[in-house]
């Protein structure tokens, strides 16, 4: 049993500071913003798969995204609401991650000479740097397919043309695949971790939660990879 020694030395007991933003609260912010982003990924993946329905359907879907709620709502209102929610979620996710990363660095300034992992997975070990790479990928991805800045078709082409222009280049498809596999691992650990952080896991559910996390991560990764590889191998043109 742990024996509590009540020391009377003054100044020994440091008072908690900045307690409202506790590490657990930051984790909850991370979990909730993560869930919003996972839900968006599922919708985005379903949209991408419309590429298999052909140029017209895909471009029509893209156009619909910009006119949801018309004419009740003017222009791309719904799209902008989605974009703002996503920006806030991404911002909160990064803020919590950076803050906890710094806290972890401070918590162990001098590392071990020898340290072996007993339980950690590759996915859990790569959450932070994996997250940085995914963020870099998202920036490139927006420049490529949303703004057309780094795309051969540019902004003038239709969304379908931009998809073809990108993924017919094997380098782009491979970079896309690497980022998505990283994303899959990020989701694999993230979904499990979010369940824990929100206090929804227990011994009975633990196995199910882990299988579900793997399943969701796999479906999202494979779902996103179908389109670029179909383009690369000429199944879509």
């Amino acid at each position: 049993m742990l024996v509590v020694t009540v020391t009377t030395e003054s100044g020994q007991r440091r008072a908690p500071k900045a307690a409202k933003t506790s590490s657990v609260f930051k984790k909850a912010v991370m979990a909730v913003s993560g869930i919003i982003l996972v839900l968006y990924l599922i919708a985005h993946m379903i949209g991408n798969l419309k590429a298999f329905a052909g140029r017209e359907d895909f471009n029509h879907y893209s156009e619909w995204l910009r006119t949801i709620g018309n004419p009740a709502l003017p222009g791309a209102t719904t799209l902008w609401i989605i974009r703002i929610v996503l920006l806030v979620a991404v911002g909160a996710h990064i803020w919590a991650a950076v803050s906890l990363w710094r806290q972890a660095k401070r918590a162990r300034p001098h590392g071990y000479v020898t340290k072996k992992a007993v339980a950690q997975s590759y996915a859990s070990r790569t959450m932070r740097w994996g997250g940085v790479i995914i963020a870099a990928f998202i920036i490139w991805h927006l420049l490529d397919l949303t703004f057309g800045a780094v795309n051969k078709e540019g902004h003038a082409g239709t969304p379908y043309d931009r998809v073809l222009a990108s993924f017919q280049n094997p380098v782009v498809t491979i970079w896309y695949a690497i980022a998505l596999i990283l994303l899959g691992m990020h989701l694999r650990h993230g979904i499990w971790s979010a369940t824990q952080t929100l206090g929804q896991s227990n011994r009975r559910r633990e196995v199910t939660v882990n299988y579900a996390a793997t399943a969701i991560a796999t479906v999202i990764t494979v779902g996103f990879l179908l389109t670029p590889f179909a383009v690369l191998f000429g199944l879509i043109d």
């Binding site: 049993m1 742990l2 509590v4 020694t5 009540v6 020391t7 020994q12 007991r13 440091r14 008072a15 908690p16 500071k17 900045a18 307690a19 409202k20 506790s22 590490s23 657990v24 609260f25 930051k26 984790k27 909850a28 906890l100 806290q103 972890a104 401070r106 918590a107 162990r108 300034p109 001098h110 590392g111 071990y112 000479v113 020898t114 340290k115 072996k116 992992a117 007993v118 339980a119 950690q120 997975s121 859990s124 070990r125 959450m127 650990h189 499990w192 971790s193 369940t195 824990q196 952080t197 929100l198 206090g199 929804q200 896991s201 227990n202 011994r203 633990e206």
Partner: protein
């Protein structure tokens, strides 16, 4: 006690016991302010039946005979129940996970038969800014005591013990509370955690007390204040990696962490704020 574990060797060749040669690389640090380094020592007569701490005792006898400073390390009961001992052995807290299927244990219950003749073993202290090194392998773990003081208690009236049947506890809750209560506060969870987080320790206490009727009055204050204290002590945040639970000599489960999170978010919603 050790004899019963391998009766054949004890009865057939008590005096011709196989001994091992071990090279130890031990973290030597004279005090909290000085820099430390790994120092190599050779031991030639290590019995496989020695516990890891007995092997360190042999090293210290050798160092004293040579007029050198013995290695400081914490220990007390040497029965795996007090939580005093604990070092990183080959990069693993208490040496847990050295072999597949090995039972989770404390440093004092790890025996030299877990190693091979000629092995080199790295021995380091727990590393966390909340566990400053006092000397060599001994670290100051009073931060754990302060987390306990922040809320790891229940208020009970003094006087005659109440009738036990007056407060029934469901069997399931009693079992889980007891599992959590087996935490000995050794600090292996912090040592093994890539974030140096004390989450498993705090979660064990929150689960243990929060599951029982006697722990209900302070339940919200407890979790909020204990988490605030562990942050203030400079421990890292939990990323649910699971190194802690896998390294815990008592096998405290990750479920306790989920319970802590659940209690904390509930308490924050109910408006409970930490005492400052």
């Amino acid at each position: 006690m050790t004899m019963t574990e391998d009766p054949t060797r004890a009865t057939t060749a008590p005096h011709q016991e196989r001994t091992m040669r071990i090279t130890l690389r031990v973290w030597r640090q004279p005090d909290a302010r000085s820099a430390g380094k790994m120092v190599s020592y050779k031991l030639n007569d290590v019995s496989p039946d020695m516990s890891f701490l007995e092997m360190l005792d042999v090293l210290n006898e050798q160092l004293i005979m040579d007029g050198e400073d013995p290695v400081a390390f914490d220990h007390d009961c040497r029965e795996g129940i007090c939580g005093m001992c604990g070092v990183m052995i080959n990069g693993r807290a208490h040496g847990n996970g050295l072999h597949d299927g090995a039972v989770q244990t404390t440093t004092c219950q790890l025996h030299m038969r877990s190693f091979k003749d000629g092995d080199t073993i790295d021995v380091e202290p727990w590393r966390a800014s909340a566990f400053p090194v006092i000397k060599d392998l001994a670290v100051d773990r009073r931060s754990f005591d302060r987390i306990i003081q922040a809320g790891g208690y229940i208020s009970v009236p003094t006087g005659t013990a109440p009738e036990a049947h007056a407060t029934p506890v469901p069997k399931k809750d009693a079992d889980f509370a007891f599992d959590a209560a087996t935490c000995i506060g050794c600090g292996a969870c912090v040592a093994a955690c890539p974030n140096a987080s004390s989450m498993l320790f705090t979660a064990a206490k929150v689960t243990h007390l929060g599951l029982l009727p006697q722990g209900q009055p302070e339940r919200n204050d407890r979790v909020v204040n204990m988490v605030a204290q562990q942050d203030a002590e400079g421990f890292g945040g939990c990323t649910n990696i699971g190194e802690c639970s896998a390294s815990c000599p008592k096998g405290i489960s990750m479920e306790t962490i989920s319970r802590l999170n659940h209690d904390l978010l509930g308490a924050l919603r109910a408006g409970t704020r930490p005492k400052s």
